[in-house]
């Protein structure tokens, strides 16, 4: 009887010991899942202000945008006068841009989506970021914990599992309580640091904690950074279907 108990004890110890090693992998995935869950929305409508700081001047731009699922979005520029009336329609991997001064629609696809949007530190792709589910493209590893601005964070390292992802590696500092990214470093496959994203303000919308002030720095451009302010946002709203259509790009 005593021998039996000892065997069971040893068995349980081994099993328990095994799970200790397994815990890290599961934990990282868990964090990523909760992050995705917090950030993901079926649809959204938002008013955004962007301030582009370059060495020569600072530009302020205002726009309104709608997004649905992971791959449909429509944005219209409200100011300044130079940009007013420009529209951006994104469907899957293609983007159509309407430029009112020339009354012309330009199509951008694939790699060109990595180009700067409106001269900011965000690429066209970056602005669609929030609607992607990270777990679909990355494998995560928990590498530790750190404090970011008095908030304790998990530090996750993500490596692309899909082919041809823009940022092959990402380092994310995720708020342990709110599961929102407070800081992110975006890397190329070569290991070169491409961009740094910082969340300066987080607002609570029901159970959701969403960044309403983000700063993005394109490390390949000297001395520039862009601030994005979400001045208004509504989640899971009804959006008229014709919003995400080329006809909506037409002249008004």
């Amino acid at each position: 009887m005593k021998r039996c108990a000892m065997l069971i004890a040893i068995f349980l110890t081994i099993v328990y010991a095994g799970t200790v090693f397994a815990r890290d992998e599961v934990s990282a995935q868990d964090i990523l899942d909760r992050l995705d869950h917090n950030m993901w929305t079926e649809s959204a409508r938002a008013k955004i202000k962007m301030m582009i700081h370059t060495r020569r001047r600072t530009d302020e731009k205002e726009m309104i945008g709608w997004s649905e699922g992971g791959n449909k979005s429509f944005t219209e520029m409200l100011s300044p006068a130079r940009d007013k009336g420009s529209k951006y329609l994104k469907l899957e991997d293609n983007m159509w841009i309407y430029l009112p001064k020339a009354e012309k629609v330009i199509k951008i696809s694939g790699h060109m989506l990595r180009q700067s949007m409106m001269g900011s530190d965000f690429s066209y792709e970056d602005t669609m970021e929030r609607s992607q589910k990270l777990r679909e493209s990355y494998a995560a590893k928990l590498v530790g914990t750190e404090t970011v601005g008095e908030r304790p964070c998990y530090v996750l390292e993500l490596e692309a599992i899909k082919h041809d992802v823009t940022y092959y590696k990402r380092r994310m500092w995720i708020d342990q309580e709110r599961f929102v990214g407070l800081k992110e470093e975006l890397y190329a496959k070569s290991g070169k640091l491409l961009k740094v994203m910082t969340a300066n303000q987080i607002k609570t919308f029901g159970k959701r904690h969403y960044p309403t002030h983000i700063t993005m720095e394109d490390k390949l451009r000297k001395g520039s950074y862009t601030e994005m302010f979400i001045t208004e946002i509504a989640f899971n709203v009804e959006i008229p279907p014709m919003t995400f259509s080329k006809r909506n790009l037409g002249r008004r």
Binding site: R57, D83, L99, A102, I106, G119
Partner: protein, 412 residues
Amino acid sequence: MFYLLKMALRNIGRNKRRTALTLSAVVIVVMLLTFAQSYLEGVINDVFANYVKTQAGHIKIVHREYAKKEIMLALDVPVEDYASIEAKLEDLEEVTLVTERLRFGVMLDVDGRTKNCLGIGAIPEKEHTIMELNEYIVDGSYFRIGASEMLMGSLLADELDAHVGDTITVVTRTAYNALSALNFKLVGLFTLGFTYIDESTFYIPLDAAQELLDMEGQTTEMFVLLTDRDDAIGVAGKITSLLEDMGIADVYEALPWQSQGELFSALSSSRVMMGIITGIILLVAALAITNTMLMAVFERTQEIGTMMALGMKSFQIVRTFIWESVSIGVLGGILGSALGTALALLVQAKGIDISSATGNISMPMGNVIYTDYTVWHTITAFLYGLILTALAALYPAYKASQMEPTEALRSV
């Protein structure tokens, strides 16, 4: 002394065919020399003038960082507030013209046909003053400030299959890297005669370019012409002082054409080429003339022997030969320079079309070359011919004088 000259003249007249041979050699050489100098002068001045008009100006005012980035046609180091600089330049009496050129690279797309082009935002009236751009329009009309009009090189239009009346949409990134587009009506096509410009350049009004590129009140360069191009360095200094007074001399610089690398080295190498070509002509000429003279001497061995037998001294024989050659030199020189001058003046009026050769040259050498004749070319050629002929005679004359009269006579 002069009796030798008379003898020399009689000698020359005696055998017309032999004389004609040497004479023609001299005539050709002098003619070539006259023409070649005029031609090369014409080419050099052509290249220079065109380079000034299309690129360098007499002085250019640019941002100090622009020179390094010029190849990339950078838009982030422009001359800002050029209007105030222009106002100050008006005070300088050596300055005849000031204008702005906004140069940018863009890929033009006409219904799917694309080409990387150079766009120039410019002031139409000023461009006309600089290089009579209006005169080179082959189809359509000139462009105007304040209008969304485009002037395109004829070869570029061919390649893109664009026609006068078409609407061309220019899509590019602004100086701040934002996407921008504007429509232009293609109002005219030009053929400047420089292939590399006609096949890749288009003009739009300066204000339209500034709007397209988000560069209001800015330009990539200020272009200055002077009454005398040789004043460039001095005037550039004056402009620098003006910039200092305005407190912006640490940002912008005034570049005289001499400092603008490309042009200056092109000119220097042209002159070197000119020297080399002249040298080669002279060398060949010397050989030709010496050759014919030697021939003459060997042919006349008997004659020389007879002269010696009759008591002529060596030095007298040498002198006779030299007089002969000088006479031929003078005669040939006059004929040759007359012909050469006539040819130079003809080409100065009519020009030579070398468009088949200029296809790939990225130098502003026009398709039609005109000579640039000055009297100096004739004088130089004539003197060269004369001296050459005289010198060329020395060796044969020496050989002649060294002959033994008996041997000479023996070859009868």
